[in-house]
Each structure stands twice: as C-alpha cells, then as structure tokens.
C-alpha cells in the first residue's frame, strides 16, 4: 500500500506560508493513499501558476504544460491510455481564463479526467491581478478601479457544459477535501472539483475567516441530487452569503473513451505495430 511520503519529491514546496496550496497538496497525496494508487500508476497534468508549481512536489508521472493548455494534454493522455488514472491540477486563471474554452469542451466530451481548480479569485504567481473568479468590483493590480466583468462560477459552468461530476471543496477542511478528490478520481467521467482556497498574499478579502463564515456542507443540509436545474439553483446561491461544499451533481454516462470502438481491445499505447498492412487501403485508390 502506498504511503503519503511516497508522493514527496526531493523538492519542498515554495508556496507562501499559509497558502491554501499546502492543504490541497496534502489532500491530493492522502487521496492517492486512500485510492491505493502507486506513484507510477497515474499521471497528473498541471497548469501554470502557483497551483501548477505543485508539479515539482508530487512524485507521480507528471506533465507541466502551458498556461491554460493542460486539459487537452490530459485528454490526449487519457485517449492514448484510458486505463491510466489522469488528473488535472490548475488554477482559476489557468483553467477558466486562458483555458476556459478547453474546460467547456472537456466537460462536453466527458473524458475520464478529474480536474482540480485552485480557486483563489486572484492571479498569484504573476503577483495579484484579477482572475475570472474575482468578485465584480474587486480591486486588484490590473483592475485598480474594480473588476467590471461578472464573476465566473465554475460550478454552474461545469453543470451546464455537461461535466458528469461537479463538486466543491475548501482548502480549510483537508479530510473533506481528500474525500472529494477520492470521489472525483473514482468517478467514471469528467469530474470537476472547485477548491476554494485563500491566497494569503494577494487576496486580503477572501481569507480563511471569510470562507469559514460562509461554507456549509451540502450533505449536511438535506440537499439531494434530484435534477440538474436543482443543482444549478443551489450553485447560484450568492457568493457573498453562502458557499455550499460537497457534490452538486454526479451522473453515470459513457465516457469519451468508452464511446471509441478503437479502444475496445486495449489502450493505444499497447497496440502491436509490427504487422501493419496498407495494401487493401491502397487498392481503393486504383
């Protein structure tokens, strides 16, 4: 059985003291242990940002892609080797700013990939500009007079785009977050896990205390997953007042990989390439 230490590397995290990324890092390692996944048995794809810097601190097969472009890499890995668990770890700027288009299409396709969005409402690694998840009116380095755009809600976005597992966790509750990561990875389909996370350096509004006053657990609130509109309604609770945690929606649907007859006899990476014969195809050009 794997142990949490197995997932450490020679590198120690470089995040700011108190950063929510430490908790997500712990929860991720804890989830691997709970799932019984050994370091060589999965791939984690990372975006660029403070969250993506986790790539150097997690001992599994990893892929640190380009800013915003991690999800297509994750989907490509999954299509090539659908037996391998694939996770995507990225920030709100990465997955919902530069990469929002890919995010929506990955939801539509229902690739079997679990996606963790580090949602701190700010760009940390570039020193504190607005993120798509910033509240309207938020004053940041790039929006000194306040954000004009509407705040992106990753939960409603994922629900309407077709993700088959949509949940929210909080970096201030590691056991709960660990459990959600386990469920997201176990879910057969595209899983979105929005993780609320304070940026202690560049976001002085959405602090641990601010979140603690607003979060509550769906499973303790009497919420039942009945219909998608009901899930969307719950996800639309006002950001400034109530922040539900837990699973909003989960459904079983064939994954993208399930729907490819080409993968019925095993993953592409195990294909025997030694006896390819194109003569019949060539005949068709006569």
């Amino acid at each position: 059985m794997p142990k949490s230490e197995d997932f450490n590397t020679k590198n120690f995290p470089t995040w700011c003291p108190g950063c929510g990324d430490f908790s997500i890092w712990s929860a991720l390692k804890g989830a691997f242990v709970a799932l019984g996944i050994e370091p060589h048995q999965c791939v984690v794809v990372y975006g660029i940002g403070c969250s993506g810097n986790m790539c150097s601190f997690v001992n599994t097969y990893g892929f640190e892609g380009l800013h915003g472009r991690g999800l297509p890499v994750a989907c490509g890995i999954k299509m090539a080797n659908h037996q391998l668990p694939v996770l995507m770890v990225g920030g709100d700027g990465d997955l919902l700013g530069e990469g929002m288009g890919h995010f929506i299409h990955a939801c539509r396709a229902n690739h079997h990939v679990a996606t963790l969005i580090h949602n701190n409402q700010v760009y940390g690694l570039t020193t504190g500009q607005t993120a798509p998840t910033s509240e309207k009116g938020a004053k940041t380095k790039s929006t000194p007079s306040g954000v004009i755009e509407e705040q992106t809600n990753p939960i409603t976005l994922a629900l309407t785009a077709g993700a088959t597992f949509v949940a929210r966790g909080f970096s201030g509750d590691i056991p709960h977050l660990t459990d959600l990561i386990v469920k997201a990875v176990s879910h057969k389909g595209f899983a979105v896990l929005d993780v609320l996370q304070p940026c202690v350096t560049f976001n002085k509004v959405n602090t641990y205390a601010w979140f603690r006053e607003r979060v509550y657990k769906l499973e303790e609130s009497g919420y039942r997953q009945t219909t998608k509109p009901a899930a969307i309604e719950r996800a639309f609770e006002p950001w400034s007042e109530k922040l539900p945690l837990g699973i909003f929606w989960q459904e079983e649907k064939p994954t993208y990989e399930d729907s490819l007859p080409q993968l019925k006899n095993g993953p592409l990476v195990e294909r025997d390439l030694s006896h390819i014969d194109i003569s019949k195809l060539s005949e068709e050009f006569r």
């Binding site: 060589h40 791939v43 150097s56 990893g62 090539a80 990476v269």
Partner: protein, 576 residues
C-alpha cells in the same frame, strides 16, 4: 510523348471534383499516367469550379495548363478558360441549356460540340448532377476510346448502390453513343496503354494519411482547415478499420496539446493543419521542443497572411515553420515534392520524431495535398518502425524517480511511458533538471540547452538529401523545393523533348539544412534559376544564409496558383 488534357468546369455544387476524380481513375484504370489540377472558390454553392486531368503514355509529373477538351457545364466555363484552350481544342456543352457560338468565343481554331447533357441525365431518371456522367461519357466517345474503362470505374464507384450504378452507366452510355453517332472520335487519345499493374491515383494528403497508418500512428488530431482537411476526413473515415483515434478538437491549440499528451503517453501521434491553424499552435511547438516529445505535424500551406486564399496554393510558410516559437530547440522540416515523397517522408517523419524526440514537420501545400497523380502502389517492404529510446517495463527497475533528461552523447535520453514502474518523471514546459523538475540554475540551463541542440548534428545524417534530376550538367539548373518539384520536372521533360537541356536540384529535407551536399551540388552548375511559389524567395534566403550561395535569377509566383510546366518552359526559353 503523348499528352492530352481534359477539363470540366461549372458552378460549385455541380459535382465537379467528383467527376474529375472519376475521370482520372478511369484513365489510370486503362493503364495511363495522369496528373490533375483543380480550382475552387472558398464556398460550397455558386462560384466557378474546375477540375482538369492531364493524361499521358509515359510518367507524368504535373498537369498541363493547356486544355484539349473542355466540358463546359455553364457558359462561364467556356469563356473563363478561353486562353487555356489549345489550338484545335474542343468544347462539349449543352446546347439545349446554353447558347454558345464560335463567334462568341472568338476562337476559330476551337470546335464546339453540343450534347444534351441535362436531357440525357433526366431521361435515365437521374438527378441534374448526373449530367457530369453524361459529359464524361461524351468525352470518352470524343477521345475515340472504348467504353470499358468507364464502365469499370463507375462499377467500382457505385457498386454498393445498384440503382445509382445502373443510372450512371446509362447516362454515361448515352453521352458516349451520342458523340459517336455525331462523328466524334477524331480527337483521338486512345486509352490503350497497358501497364502490367495499373497505378494508384492519389493526392498528397491521402498519401500522407496512408503513410501515417503504415508508420503506426494511432492518434491523429486536427481542426478542419483547407487545404489540410482531407487528411482528417480520410483518417476519420478509416478509423474503425485502422483502430486509430482521430479527434476533431475544439481548436488548433487543443489539437497540438492533445497530440502531445498522447505522444507523452506513448502513442505515435500526428496533427494536421494549414498556416493559420499552425499559427495558433506555435507556443505548444516550443513545449514539444523543451519537453522533448515526438510529434509529426503536417502543415499544408495556402496563401496567407490571415485567412488569405483558403482554397488556393502557395509555399510561403517555410521560414515560418523553421523559426516558429520563442527560444531555441531542434526541429525537423521535410517538404515532400510528390505523392511518393509525401508517403515515404511521412514514414521517415515518425521515425525521426521518436528517434530524436522532437517535432517533425511535413510541409506540404494545396498543390501537392489536393492534386492527384498516378504512381505505383507505395513500396513498404523496407520500412521498419523505429521507436528510438522508448523504454518498456523490462528496461526499468526500482521505484526511484527516473532521470528522463539525463545527458547523453547524442542528446537523446531514454523515455519511459507513464504507467511503467521505475520510470516516474515530470514532463515540463519549464527548464528542468534530469528528472524534469523545474530548475533555473545556470549550469542546468546550459546542460539541458546543449543536450537538446546536440540532436541537430545527429538528425542531419538522417535527412533526405537534395536530389539532382536530369543530366548531371546543363546550361540551366532549376533549384526548387517541395511541391514545385512536379511542374519543374514536367517542364524539364518537355524541354528535353524539344532538345533543350536543363536539370533540377530539388530539396525536400529543409531543416536541418544539408549544407555540405548543397555546396557540392550547386557549385558545379553553370546558371542557377530559383523556382518558388512565394513572393520573397524564402528558400533563396535560407540557401544564402546557410551556404552563402545567392541565386540572383529567380522565378517567383504568388498568385494562388502553382507553377504550370508551360510557364516554366517559356521562362527558360526566354533565357536561351
């Protein structure tokens, strides 16, 4: 040598391309050599489309511009191509639908032949589009050929839909007999040449697609873009037969990143696009470079910049693909010149990509990608898939992180695929250490940059060398690259028939540049003439940069059309 050029023209939506392909296949089935050429505006309905097929009794390298027999499905088709009609050419048109007279055309040397194309199509119970089939039948009658080759090719095209087959055969027969009874057949181009085994007739895009299948490509991703889309269409259509996963992704950025993911995972991966789509992929090309991920990229060029001229041709992205992306990393650029090279360079591209863990371009264009030529079926007997230093489980032991980016003599480090025990590493877009972890130290930066760039020395030995075609010495040497090979070679052959001697130096291995071979080949020639399909002589600049050889005499064409053999012949004759 005998050459005959047939052309069909009409509005987009008339089924021009399908008819052209059918005609070409018919001639090949009869044992002839063909090369075709098509023009179409960037729209689905309306606008003027043409397809022409040059037929010969000896190997042919490009379609002629001059037309011997024109099937004009509308009035525009007759008037728009007046200048292309050879002296003594004939025009088949539907006199019951359009009025056309020799006086209107102002060409006393051209004969007009009315055939009731639409009426015959209707009489056999076919749709209007079947008048093309009547036109092909009439053409065959006119050329003085047997009906058998057409019957064979229609049977193969419509064999699965018996009612279509019957109607098409009838329509073709009506056109054929009508022309015969009207005394046709004096424009004789009998399709009697018999090759012991008929050739295939294939466009460059499909040749590359077949190459990808033969090379063991199991993942192809693309976003539709003319003129590269037929690679996607062909591979998607065959996906369930070949077992390839063919993904039409949401945009080109996703296309290249999906392919990088699939390649990192251990699949042979390829993508296809044109210049505009490649522009979107550029940052990710650098990712392939720094993370050392094999990837084959088909860039099928069209005239730019921006949307440019989507359905026309140009070869103006050479400097772009050689230099695309920030930073420095090794890449390979192959520019196949004909359908044989399109196939074989694709086989080579996959081996180079995996042996050198680098991106490899197949730089083609509309002229090669969408135009067919007859060729013997591709010989695959000597091809061996070489996956380079891709490791298997038996190569790995222990469970320590793996030094994926260890320094080696040739710059290539062993590569495990994720899932294997003992191979855990990070593939990283940041500069990294031996394990792939981000590292910004000056020592590691230099070590990794040197390791990557060292690959170019090894790659250079495996590149296709420039070819000398024709006599080893000649008064004029045409220097060219990529798809210009076809018309340049055809011009050389035809000049030779007129007792004028030229030779060709053709490049298909563009980067890393074959400096020594080039200097050797070019320094002994008398008068170099550069032939390119762009406005700025991009290859000329590369040649000068790499060897100091500056070709002053340049033939540059950038009107969206390829060079035609006749144009090149005229240009050489001016220099004599």
């Amino acid at each position: 040598m005998e050459r005959f050029t047939w052309k069909i023209g009409g509005q987009a939506g008339f089924g021009i391309a399908t008819s052209g392909q059918l005609f070409a296949r018919m001639c090949v089935a009869a044992g002839r050599f063909v090369a075709d050429y098509s023009e179409k505006p960037n729209r689905i309905r309306g606008g003027h489309n043409t397809h022409q097929v040059t037929i010969a009794d000896k190997p042919l390298y490009a379609a002629s511009r001059e037309v011997d027999l024109l099937v004009a499905l509308d009035k525009d088709s007759a008037f728009l191509h007046l200048k292309e009609l050879a002296s003594g050419a004939a025009v088949i048109y539907d006199g019951e639908k359009i009025t056309l007279t020799a006086e209107d055309l102002g060409r006393g040397d051209v004969t007009l032949h009315s055939v009731p194309l639409a009426r015959f199509a209707k009489e056999v119970g076919g749709e209007e589009v079947m008048r093309n089939t009547v036109g092909i039948g009439a053409s065959l009658g006119f050329m003085g050929c047997d009906f058998a080759p057409l019957e064979r090719v229609l049977t193969s095209a419509f064999g699965k839909k018996p009612e279509h087959l019957v109607a098409n055969l009838k329509a073709a027969r009506e056109g054929f007999e009508y022309v015969r009874t009207q005394g046709g057949g004096h424009h004789a181009c009998p399709l009697t040449q018999k090759l012991s085994s008929p050739h295939i007739v294939i466009p460059g895009n499909e040749a590359m697609a077949l190459g990808a299948i033969q090379a063991g490509c199991t993942f192809y991703a693309a976003y539709p873009m003319s003129p590269s889309s037929s690679i996607l269409h062909y591979l998607a259509g065959k996906a369930e037969t070949t077992g390839m996963v063919v993904k039409h992704a949401e945009d080109e950025i996703s296309v290249i990143n999906m392919a990088l993911g699939a390649s990192y995972a251990g699949a042979r991966a390829m993508i296809g696009t044109s210049g505009g789509g490649f522009s979107l992929m550029v940052e990710s090309l650098g990712l392939a470079g720094i993370a050392e991920i094999p990837l084959v990229i088909a860039e099928v060029m069209r005239p730019g910049p921006a949307t440019g001229m989507p359905t026309w041709t140009e070869a103006s992205d050479l400097q772009f693909v050689i230099h695309a992306a920030q930073g420095e990393f090794p890449r390979v650029v192959l520019a196949p010149g004909d359908v044989e090279e399109a196939f074989h360079h694709t086989l080579l591209a996959f081996n180079l990509a995996e042996r050198w863990q680098a991106p490899v371009f197949l730089l083609s264009d509309k002229n090669l990608g969408e135009h067919s030529r007859s060729a013997p079926p591709f010989d695959t007997s000597s091809y061996r898939i070489d996956r380079g230093k891709l490791l298997t489980q038996k190569d790995l032991s222990g469970d320590k992180p793996f030094k994926r980016y260890a320094l080696t003599a040739d710059g290539v480090s062993p590569r495990p695929r994720p899932g294997l025990k003992g191979g855990v590493y990070l593939s990283n877009s940041y500069e990294h250490d031996y394990f792939g972890y981000s590292d910004e130290s000056s020592e590691m930066r230099v070590a990794q940059a040197d390791k990557r760039m060292k690959k170019l020395e090894g790659i250079a030995h495996e590149m296709p060398k420039p070819l000398i075609l024709g006599p080893s010495k000649a008064p004029f040497t045409l220097v060219t690259w990529g798809s210009m090979k076809g018309p340049v070679r055809e011009a050389m052959e035809r000049l030779g028939e007129e007792k004028m001697k030229v030779n060709i130096v053709h490049f298909s291995g563009m980067w890393p540049f074959p400096k020594k071979e080039t200097e050797k080949l070019l320094s002994s020639q008398k008068h170099l003439v550069l032939v390119e399909n762009n406005a700025t002589a991009q290859f000329g600049s590369l040649l000068k940069e790499q060897t100091g050889i500056d070709i002053k005499d340049k033939l540059l064409k950038y009107d969206g059309r390829p060079w035609f053999p006749e144009e090149l012949m005229a240009a050489i004759k001016e220099r004599l």
